[in-house]
Amino acid sequence: MAEEVKLFGSWASPYTSRVKVVLKLKGIEYENVEEDLSNKSPLLLKYNPIHKKVPVFLHHGKPIAESLIIIEYIDETWKHNPILPIDPYDRAMARFWAKFIDEKIQPAVWKTLLAGENEREAAIEEAHQLLKTLERELNGKKFFGGESLGFLDVAGNVVVWLEVSQEALGMNLLDKEKFPILHEWCQRVLDDDAFKQVMPPKEKLLAFTRARFEAFLGPK
């Protein structure tokens, strides 16, 4: 029985990438629809009229938006190789830290990019504190999920993407001297089979990042 599984996304979106990693980890076949975010398709706008963003996941014709919500749906629908922990408390912790990444770390990183001369130091300090707080959660584990990639490692892909792409921004926010544990975790994630297959090539990502932020960075 063929199940209609489609993913509307962009190769340059880490949020799309989160869903792709999970689909890879569970070995789920799907049709990839690559969106041009400067020219969004009528289908994307139909399936995500509220946010008009990627990723959008389509299963049996029913659309779901928001990467972490999509991942929870996938985990509940294809029950093998669970992404979220089994224990309710551990699940709560995974959800808490994923929220922390999206609602605290991501905006703080953006702030350092957009900050003027006067605010940059303070913005960097804030981002550092938040990254340190996340790093402590690894607590001697190989991955946030334990022995293998779990929900929080997938949600943490934005941190991995930051590590890879920060040189294109002339930044060293995730300094491996300051964050040795987080740095090692990034390397383990980048080395993971499923993650490797889904991660865009480094040069492509750097070029895209450079071009995208040219407007904010100004002449160097």
Partner: protein
């Protein structure tokens, strides 16, 4: 079998109210610890060092913060009176609407309340757009959860009380019964539902509190 359930809250926090409702709907015994956010207790700081906020649920000594995360934990731990639907797609939709509520709806309504002039006008427009989506979602349903109050109702529920308080203080209509009839009815039905109606914070205290917040915001924006 004794289970220790504690809820750290303030008397007015709308996010803590979500947890009060969930615990009462499921008939879970719990102890309330009221916090004064201007003088946070060592326990609060110990249990939520990252955000230093309420609500915090402590179950058998283990703390959980972030109200929507707490709601899911409660639903997975105590199976009576389920808050989330069974079907994975319906669950995804419930999570989507709750997130939309927090990220967009509550923020735009707060802006209508706290901002002035052009910013307030823009916030009203945004609010109308956001509420129209919720209006659409209410078609054919008494509550967002269907016949019974569910996760989305609890997530949005504080609006059933706060909107009228904001309207009274700023003298603006935020939810027009004619323009948003289904959402308006939902606010009435939710506010008057058993358990919900018995747990609203005192209205006069809320008016005083939010008036003070608005006065402070106006004062600081005119002095800059």
């Amino acid at each position: 079998m004794g289970e220790e359930v504690k809820l750290f809250r303030t008397w007015s926090s709308p996010f803590a109210l979500r947890i009060v409702w969930a615990l009462k709907i499921k008939g879970i015994e719990y102890e309330t610890v009221f916090e004064d956010l201007s003088n946070k207790s060592p326990l609060l700081l110990q249990y939520n060092p990252v955000h230093k906020k309420v609500p915090i649920l402590v179950h058998n000594g283990r703390p959980i913060a972030e109200s929507l995360v707490i709601l899911e934990y409660i639903d997975e731990t105590w199976k009576q009176g389920p808050l989330l639907p069974k079907d994975p797609y319906e669950r995804a939709m419930a999570r989507f609407w709750a997130k939309f509520g927090d990220d967009k709806v509550l923020t735009s309504i707060w802006s209508v309340f706290i901002k002035q002039g052009k910013e307030q006008e823009e916030a009203l427009v945004a609010t109308m757009e956001n509420l129209k989506f919720l209006e659409e979602e209410m078609k054919g349903k008494k509550f967002f959860g269907g016949e019974r109050i569910g996760y989305v109702d609890l997530a949005l529920g504080c609006l059933a009380n706060l909107i009228s308080i904001f309207e009274e203080i700023v003298g603006l209509k935020i939810v027009d019964e004619e323009k948003l009839p289904l959402f308006y009815s939902w606010m009435q039905n939710f506010a008057e539902a058993p358990i919900i109606r018995d747990n609203w914070p005192p209205r006069d205290k809320m008016i005083v509190k939010f008036q003070a917040l608005l006065d402070a915001a106006i004062a600081s924006s005119s002095s800059s």
